[in-house]
C-alpha cells in the first residue's frame, strides 16, 4: 500500500502524512453521515459522529485567521465575479483617448489603445477566479471518482487507474500545459480544463488510500451485507469519511490554480488577449514596474490576497479536520 498513497505536491502532504503513518496516529473516520447511525445499533458511534462534526465546525469557527480569510475570500470572489459589470467602463471598450495616467474617472489610467485599466483589472480578476474555481471543481470531482473507484475495487481496476495516475504524474505538467495551450487556444474554459487535467492526481491517491482502509471497516461490511450497491457504499459510506481531505485539497487547488494560470500567462500561454486575467495583467505590468507601478502591484496584490486567504482557509480546515488538534488545544 505504501507505493501509491504518497503526496506529490507539497500542498497535500499533511493529508498524506496521515496516510503514511501507522494506524495509531492515523486518521479516524470522521463526519460519518447520521443516516448511517440508524442502520446500526451502535449508539456510541452516532454520538461520537455528531460530536465529531460539531467539533470540526467549532474548531474551524475558532480559527480566527481562517475565518477572516474566509470573509476576505468570499468578498473577493463575489467582487471579482460581479465587479466588472458594475464598473462604468467595459474592458473591451476603446475610448477616444489613450495612454493616459490615472485620474478620478479612470483610477488606473487608460492603456495604449484606449481601454480603461480598472475595467481590465476587474475583468482579469473575474477570469482568474473563474479558472481557479472551475479547476478546483473539476479536479476534485475527477480525483475523488478515480480514487474511490481504485480504492474500492482494488485489483486490476486499481492497477490500471493508478498507472494512469502515474502517467499523468510522470508527464511534466508544464510541458503539457504549454503544448495544449498552444493547440486549444487561450479561452478561459479550455485553460481551466487543461490545468484541471493535471491537478486531480494527488487527490485521487489520497481518496484511494482512505477508501482502501475504510472499506474493511465493520460498518461497510454491514452495509454490504444489507445489500447496498457499490455506488451507494462509495457515496454514502466511504466518501463522507474522506470529506476532510477532499475539502482541504479542493481549497488548496484554488490557490495553486490561480498561480498556475499566472505562470502560464507569464509564458504567454494563458488566457489570450483581448481577454485578460490577473496573470496576464501582472506579466504585462512587469514592464511597467517603474513607470506605472500600479499596473504591477495591484494585480499582483489581488493574486496574493486571493491565494493567501485560500491557503489560510485551507489551513484552518486542515486543523479543524485534524484529530490531533484535540490534543494540542487541551
Amino acid at each position: 500500500m505504501t507505493d501509491t498513497d504518497r503526496p506529490d505536491t507539497p500542498e497535500t502532504e499533511d493529508e498524506t502524512l496521515e496516510d503514511r503513518r501507522p494506524v495509531d496516529t492515523g486518521v479516524q473516520p470522521s463526519g460519518q453521515p447520521a443516516a448511517l447511525a440508524s442502520d446500526h445499533t451502535d449508539h456510541e458511534l452516532s454520538v461520537q459522529t455528531r460530536s465529531q462534526r460539531q467539533l470540526i465546525v467549532r474548531r474551524f469557527l475558532q480559527h480566527r485567521l481562517a475565518m477572516v480569510s474566509l470573509f476576505v475570500l468570499v468578498l473577493l470572489i463575489v467582487g471579482s465575479l460581479v465587479g466588472g459589470s458594475l464598473w462604468t467602463y467595459d474592458y473591451a471598450e476603446q475610448l477616444p483617448t489613450f495612454n493616459e495616467p490615472p485620474t478620478w474617472e479612470h483610477p488606473m489610467g487608460i492603456d495604449d489603445i484606449g481601454r480603461d485599466l480598472m475595467a481590465k483589472v476587474l475583468r482579469g480578476a473575474q477570469r482568474s477566479v473563474q479558472v481557479a474555481l472551475l479547476v478546483a471543481f473539476l479536479s476534485t470531482t475527477v480525483g475523488t471518482i478515480i480514487g474511490a473507484i481504485a480504492g474500492y475495487y482494488r485489483g486490476i481496476v486499481d492497477s490500471i487507474l493508478m498507472r494512469i495516475t502515474d502517467l499523468f504524474l510522470v508527464i511534466p505538467s508544464l510541458a503539457v500545459f504549454l503544448l495544449l495551450a498552444r493547440i486549444v487556444g487561450g479561452g478561459w474554459f479550455q485553460l481551466a480544463l487543461i490545468i484541471a487535467a493535471f491537478f486531480w492526481m494527488p487527490l485521487a491517491r489520497i481518496v484511494r488510500a482512505e477508501v482502501l482502509s475504510l472499506r474493511e471497516k465493520e460498518y461497510v461490511e454491514a452495509a454490504r451485507a444489507l445489500g447496498a450497491s457499490d455506488a451507494r457504499i462509495i457515496v454514502r459510506h466511504l466518501l463522507p469519511n474522506a470529506i476532510g481531505s477532499i475539502i482541504v485539497n479542493a481549497t488548496i487547488v484554488v490557490a495553486v490554480a490561480i498561480l498556475a494560470e499566472t505562470s502560464l500567462s507569464y509564458l504567454g500561454l494563458g488566457i489570450a488577449a483581448p481577454d485578460t486575467s490577473l496573470g496576464l495583467l501582472v506579466s504585462e505590468g512587469q514592464a511597467a514596474f517603474k513607470t506605472r507601478p500600479h499596473l504591477f502591484y495591484w494585480p499582483g496584490f489581488l493574486i496574493i490576497i486571493i491565494a493567501l486567504s485560500v491557503n489560510f482557509v485551507g489551513d484552518g480546515l486542515r486543523d479543524a479536520f485534524d484529530p490531533r488538534q484535540k490534543r494540542v488545544r487541551q
Binding site: A92, Q94, D112, I113, G186, A272, A273, P274, F289
Partner: protein
Amino acid sequence: MMKSRWLRVLALLLGLSMIAAACGDDDDTASEGEGEETEETTEGTEGEGEGEAAAGGTVVFANEQEPDGWNINTASSNLLALGQLTEIVFPAAFRTTPDFEVVMDENLLVSAEQTSEEPQTIEYVIQEDAVWSDGTPITADDFIFMYEMMNGSNGEIDVASTAGYDRVESVEGSEDGKTVTVTFAEPFSEWQSMFTNILPAHIIPELGDGDAVTGWNDGLDGANAPEFSGGPFMFEDYRPEQSVTMVPNPEWWGEAPNLDEIVIRFDVDNAGLPAALENGEIDMAYPQPQLDLVDQIDGLSDVDSQVSFGLSFEHIDFNLQNSHLAKPEVRMAIAHALDEEDVVARTVGQFSEEASVLQNRIWLSNQPQYEAHGDEYIGANVEEAQGLLEEAGYDCSSSPCTHPEDGELTLRITTTGGNQLRENTQLVIQNQLAEVGIGITIDNVEGGAAFERFFPESNAIADQDYDIALFAWVGTPFPSSNKALYTNEDPTLVGSNNTGYQNPAIVDIFDEALVETDPDAAADLYNQADTILWEDMPTVPLYQKPTFLAYRNTIQNVEDNASTAGPLWNAYEWSVEG
C-alpha cells in the same frame, strides 16, 4: 552523532551543487577551445566582469536571438540577428546606410561599375590590401566561389536566395585576382544586392574536409562560429546559449576599431532588459519596442536610446478564397473603413512622433524611391465603405452586413498571439470595422504557429486557414523578391503568396523591372506595381515597425541602421568614454 549525520547530508547536497556547477565549466571550456589561444591571453587582462565594461573598452550587447548557424547565405541560418553580426565580419561589395542608400563598400572595393549593357557586365576592383584574417588576399576566387555556391544549379547546396546569381553567365578574375568581371546571361537590375557576406574560398571547403558543398552547408553550423574574418571584427569564444565575443581583426586593413571587444549576450530576455541595463550587466540592447519597456529604459539616467523605422512593415492580407474577400468591393470597403492614422497613433505612434502610415508595399517611407499611393484610403470613410458593400449586394441595415448568398460579413483576423503590438493593432482594426458593419473575430495562434495557417505544410491554397492575416514582411532595398509575395506560377500553391492573388499585369511589371538596368526606371516600375496592388487590394500596408536601440551614454558614435544592417554596422567607430 545524529546531528553530524544531518550535517553530512547537507554537505553532500552542497557538494552536489558544486559538481553541478563544475559540470557547467567543462562544457564551457570545451566550447572555448574553438577560440584562438593567443587572443585569449590578450583579452584576459580586460577583466571578465561586465561591471568594468566601460573602463576596458568593452561593450556588452544583449541580442535575444541566438544564431542557429553562422553561414548567413544559407536558408537555415539566414536570420536578421545573425546578419547584423556578420555585417562587421564578412566583406560585402555594397552596404545599406542608415538612410537606406545602397553604397559601395570602399573598404573592400576600389570601384564597381557596369562596363557594358549588352551583355550586362560588372567590373569590381578589389582593394590591394584587402586580406582575410589569416593573411590570404581577398580575390576574385572568393567572388567565383560565392557564384558557384549560390547560383542554384546544385540542389544540394543550401542557399537563402539565388537572386542574381542564377542569371550570371560567368565570373572571372584578372590582375592577380584583384579585378572581378561578372557577365550576366540575362540583365539583372539589382546587381548591387550580390556579393554580400562573402566567404573565403580557401577556408570553406576545408571546413567540409575538402568538400566545398559540405563546408558551405554544415561547416559553420551550430557551435562552429567562423574563426576567420574579412571585416573589422572577428568572432571569438562562442559559448552556446550565452555569448559570442567580437574582437578586432588583427589583419583588418581599414580604420582600426577603438573597442577591445563587443560581447554579444544571448541570455537576456526583453523583460529583463531594464534591470540588466540598470545593474550594469549589459551596455546595449536592441529589443522590439513596447511602450512600457521604452519608458522604463528612457527613465534610466545613463542610458540613451534611438527609435527608428526599419524595413519591416506590418500589413493585413486578405484570403481571396473567402467568399466575402473574393469580392474586390469588400476589400476596398475594409481599406476605406480603416482609419490608418488612428491605428498608427494607438500603436507605433506612441514610440515616436515620426511614425506614419505606410502607403506603399514595395518601397518604405525612408527609402528615396518611396511614393505614397494610398491617400484616398487614409482616414475612416464609413459612407464610402458602406456604399461599396451595398454595391456588392450587402445589406448593411443591421450589423454585421449580410449578403444574400454569402451570409453575414464576419471575418476572422489571425496573427501571432503574444505579440502585443499586433494584438493591439487587431483590436483597433476590429473596433474601426465594427463602425461599418464588418464583424471581426480575433482568432490568434500562439507565436510563430500562426504562419502554418497562412503557409500550410502542404503548400496548397486549399489548406490555408485564415480570413485576414496580420504580420510583417521585411522590406529590402532590392525589391525584385517581392514578386513571389504577389504571384505564384501555380495558382493552387501558396509559396510566399499567401493571399492567392493573381494578376498577369503585376507579373509583367516585376519581370520588366528585374531586367531594367536603369535604377530610376526600375524604381518607377515597382511603384507602378504598387499602384496596381492598391487597385486590387489583396493586402493593406499599415505601418513600418520601429526599432529601438538603447545604449549606455558612455558609448560614442552609436547610430542605429534600421535597414537590415542593424546597430553594429559602424561598431568600428565606437569608443567608450572613461
